[in-house]
Structures are given as C-alpha cells and as structure tokens.
Amino acid sequence: MLRIRLCEESFVAPILKKEFKGPVHLYVGEEAIATGVCAALKENDLIFGNHRSHGHYLAKGGSLKKLIAEVYGKETGCSKGRGGSMHIIAKDKGFLGSAPIVAGTISLALGAALAIKIRKEKRIAVTFFGDGATGEGVLYESLNFASLKKLPILFVCENNFYATHLPLREFRLKDNISGIGLSFGIPSFRVDGNNVLEVFETAKRIVDRIRKGKGPAFIEFRTYRLRGHVGPDDNIQGTHTDIRPKKEIEKWKKKDPLKRFKQYLLRKNTFTERELEKIKKEIEREVQEGHSFAKKSAYPLEGEVTKYVFK
C-alpha cells in the first residue's frame, strides 16, 4: 500500500514540471483495494486494469521502475513507451494490461476466464473497474455470460463515488452498485475498500470460492480518491475543476487506508514506529531510483513509429 502511495505521489512533481504530458490517473486513497485483492491472488491469476491501474500493476508484482519509465514514455518502460500511464502490462505476473475505455477491459477479463475454463486450469480472472463503468452495457452482458457459463471471474468495482466529474447520485438513482450482480444470480458483496484487512479477508474467501469452480462473484469496494480524476488536481470546489466539497475530502482523509492500517500495526505491536519509518525510507529510495532510471533511459527511436503494429 505504502509503495503504491509513494509511487503515485512521486509523479506529482514531474507532472507539474511537465516532464511528461500524458494523463496520469492517481490511485491515491484507493490502495487498499489493489493490495488486498492481489494479496488474495496467485501469480498466475489473470487481471485486467483500467485507466487508474498503477496500483493493480504494482500489487500484482509489476516492476516499479518499468512503470515509472513507462509513464515517462521511455523505451525501458513496461510497454516500451508506447502506452504510457494508461497502458501498462506485466504479463509474466498475470497483469495482462490496462486500458482507459470505461468498462472496455471487463469483457477481456471475461475472455481470460473463458480461456481458463476451456483449458481446465485452476486460475481465476479479475476485472477492476470503477463506479462509472456501471453505466456501460457491456458490464451487464459480461455478468450474464459469466454467470451462465459459471466462469472463474471476480468483478471488482472500485466505487470512489465519482465518474470523472459526476457524483454517483447524478448518474445512478440509488447507491446500490453491490446489487448489480444479484439479478444475474452472482454472489455480491459490499466492502469498506479503505480497510485493507477487510478487503483481503473478503477477497480471499471469495477467490477461493471461485477457484473451486463455483462461478463468478461481484464485490463493490467503497472508497474515495484523495486526488482528483486525473493528475494532481484535487477537483476541489472553488478551483477551476470545481467538483468536490472540501469537507467531503477531509472526511475521507480521516478514513485513509494507510493511516488506518498503520494504526492497526502499531496497536498490535506488529511493527514499531521506527521500523515503519525504515520501510518508508527504503521505498522512497526505490521510487527515487525508479525516476533516475526513467530519466536516464532513452525515448523510442523515431524510425520505430510503426514497429509493433503487427506481430
């Protein structure tokens, strides 16, 4: 969680300095979900991300320096500078790619689950999508097919209560996302997405169930992005993006998953304050090294603009 947080926050300065220009959707505030869910998975389980997927990539085991280099658009990035922040991949870790078309990767995960079923493997597939994706028809088509064919797939909805600029209450009549799966006969759950232990425990139980061949499941994790939709702009009311009340942001800051987990660890005497500080320092160094690596790395060659169109 801390690794994701520090990595995400490390992008703020270079974004402001325009060291890279492409959109970067920060996962700050939602780290517990990727962390908890991926901890419940095996390396060969297959996951697909979305526009805001640095967290999923890192939690599934993707290389941090290749992620940073990709955000800079460098040849050493995980997608060789062709994809940027929204198109990251760590195939050998089962992270099969992320893409920003809202709900666009849900059916891809469905296909991965179908592949697993055809090959009679013990793996599962996971699709991560946001509350905004609940407006897309393909989600419902996918739920139906997954349920019909009893596919080994976990639908993870990260409900951060905003679809870019639009608050949930303005795009759904009711705050009832966890009920979506039920009409397809899919076991569905609503979980505090800012409590990493609860995320993990629920995910573990459900993932094991899917792995036993019992068919798909749906989890709504309720969370909040502490940053805005894209980049370091926090979309605070009164600023130019003018979306979220400051009070609301303050309320969610109190529920910051990192703070809560840190308090838990200290309370349980699992770690001392000093040990946690040491871990933080190590991660900070790793992130700094990632940025140095990215900055030193070369951009792709101009002459290779059509390389990788076809295999």
Partner: protein
C-alpha cells in the same frame, strides 16, 4: 499425402473443413458466437463441430455482441486462438469497441508484449429485400484501423486457405465472407493448406485493362471480362483477397502493364476499398495510366428493400462492362 485434388465442395463447407481441421490440430482454437448451433444463422459452416468438439469449444451465446467479441479478444490475450462469428456483420457493430480499441491496439500499445491472435468472422448477408440493417459490407471500416488485417475470400479454395491462415496469424484478422458465395462449388484440397494474407491473385490474365475485384464481385468481373472479349478488350482480373494489407506489388505490376484500372467492390464508394486502391495507383503508378481510374461500387445509400431499388443498388457485370467501355472511348 496424395489427396484428391479434384474434389469439389461448396464455399460454406470449405469454411467448415477449415474449422474442423484447425480445431482438431490446435486445442487453443475455439469458436464462439451467436448461432453456432444453428444452421439458421451460420448455414452449414459449423456442421458437426459441436458433436466433435463439444460445447466447451463450440460456444453458442446470448445476444451480447460487445461482451462476446470482447471475450474472444480477451481469450486471445490469455493465449487462445478464438474465432468469433458474427452471422450478420450489421449486428457486429456493438462489438466495435473490443475490435478497434482493444484488439487492434493491444500489441502496439504494450510495446509488443502481447499479441492478439483472434479471428473476427463477419458474414455479409445481403440481398433478398432485407434492407439497411441486414445487408452491410463494412470491410473499409476495418481496413482503416492499424493493427487489423482484413481478408475477403471469393472462392471455396481461398475460403479454406484464408481461414486457416487467419487462425494461425498472430494478429487480429477480420475474415469477411458473403452468403451469396456459400453455395458456390470449387476445388478444395482435403489437406490443411494456407493462402498467405496480403497476397492477391490474377484470376484472368489480360493486357488492356486491370479489373480489381473483391469477394463476389470477382465473379462478376470474370464474366465481364469474357463479354469484353467481343469488344476486343483483353481484361486482367485480380481477386484482391486481402483488403489489408494490400498486395501493392501485384496491383502496381498489373497496372503498369495495362495502363487502365477499374476497382469493383460491392460496398460504399466514399472512403471505400476502391478509393484506397485508387489512391495507391495514383501515388505510385500515375505515369503509367492511359485513362482515369474508375470505381464500381455501391451507391452511397443504405441498402433498400423494394425490388426495383435493390436491383439498382447492387452492381453486376453490366456495371463493370459499362465502366470499362467508358475508359476505351
């Protein structure tokens, strides 16, 4: 293997044989789509598949073109070689997102990390007074998208060979056939063979004009060429077969020889395949042309229902003959 080279089967059964043989050879191949169980949807192209390979690999689906196309793409990303069938191309439009945004881009946008060996099998099912949403031929739409290959076989031999190549290709391939060709019989070897994607073929050698045609228009072009003999016009007929990539070499070579070219594609004229071939010739063989380039295509209008309008809508050999005559005036 000494197979009977003279064996003749229909275009649709040539497709069926390709599916049987690839499914047998390669456990990663599977077929998914609406109606694969039903001859009503897919004619006899899927005959015997479900009996032989079971419902695990021959998957009839709910009417969910978007998710099902996406599932085929996702399965390809996860290492399978799916064939997803759309028994009417019109209905495939709900599946454009996974084709255009995901499948076409996936290999490029992840820097070559992950190929997408999926076949999107789209059936043109036109004529018969079916109207605007049961008739469309949208090859140009897909040939516009980098990362997609597009093929249109005109003969039973090519239907089998191109489908096998499409399944074996590491990239997404849009395989477009036409129900008007399904009963056409032709020689089809029993063994597994491949027609390379990106290669056109000369169906009739000639020296006075090149007629490039796609899919069933190739048969119209051949008939037109026979009629033109009476006018002492010796037409060369090229079956384009591969809409993308284009066989530039063969097209240019032919035009440089004949100095005249007509492109016949039974799809809309504006921004169409004929326009693309025309642009290629203008750019790379302009100096060899003895006459303007001409296109025989559908009028820029939706497919009509009424028999009078439908008759006027679809081009035939007569349209090709008229177009050729104009160039020799």
């Amino acid at each position: 293997m000494s197979s009977n080279k003279k064996r003749k089967i229909s275009y649709s059964l040539a497709i069926n044989e390709a599916l049987h043989q690839k499914m047998f050879q390669d456990p990663s191949v599977f077929l998914i789509g609406q109606g694969v169980k039903s001859a009503w949807y897919v004619g006899n192209t899927c005959r015997g598949l479900i009996e032989k390979f079971g419902e695990r690999r021959i998957i009839d689906t709910p009417i969910s073109e978007n998710a099902i196309t996406g599932a085929a793409v996702g399965a390809a990303i996860a290492g399978m070689r799916p064939v997803v069938v759309h028994p009417r191309m019109d209905f495939m439009m709900y599946g454009l997102d996974p084709i255009i945004n995901e499948a076409a881009n996936w290999y490029y946008m992840f820097g070559g990390e992950c190929p997408v060996p999926v076949v999107i099998w789209a059936v043109i099912n036109r004529g018969g007074e079916q109207g605007a949403q049961h008739s469309q031929a949208l090859q140009a739409l897909f040939s516009h998208i980098p990362g997609l290959k597009v093929v249109m076989p005109a003969t039973p031999y090519d239907a089998k060979g191109l489908l096998i190549s499409s399944i074996e290709d590491e990239n997404p391939v849009i395989f477009i056939d036409d129900r008007w060709l399904y009963n056409l019989e032709g020689e089809v070897p029993e063994e597994v063979y491949r027609i390379p994607i990106g290669k056109s073929i000369i169906r009739r050698k000639g020296k006075d004009i090149t007629i490039v045609a796609t899919s069933y228009m190739m048969w119209q072009a051949l008939e037109a060429a026979e009629s033109l003999k009476e006018k002492n016009i010796d037409a060369e007929v090229i079956d384009l077969r591969s809409i993308f990539p284009l066989d530039k070499e063969l097209l240019l070579e032919s035009v440089k020889k004949t100095g005249r070219i007509i492109i016949a594609d039974a799809a809309w004229k504006t921004g169409g395949v004929a326009a693309e071939v025309s642009a290629l010739i203008s750019e790379e063989a302009f100096g060899f042309l003895k006459a303007p380039i001409s296109r025989v295509a559908l009028p820029d209008a939706p497919a009509p229902v009424s028999p009078t309008l439908e008759k006027a809508y679809y081009p035939t050999k007569e349209n090709i003959i008229q177009a050729v005559k104009k160039l020799f005036k």
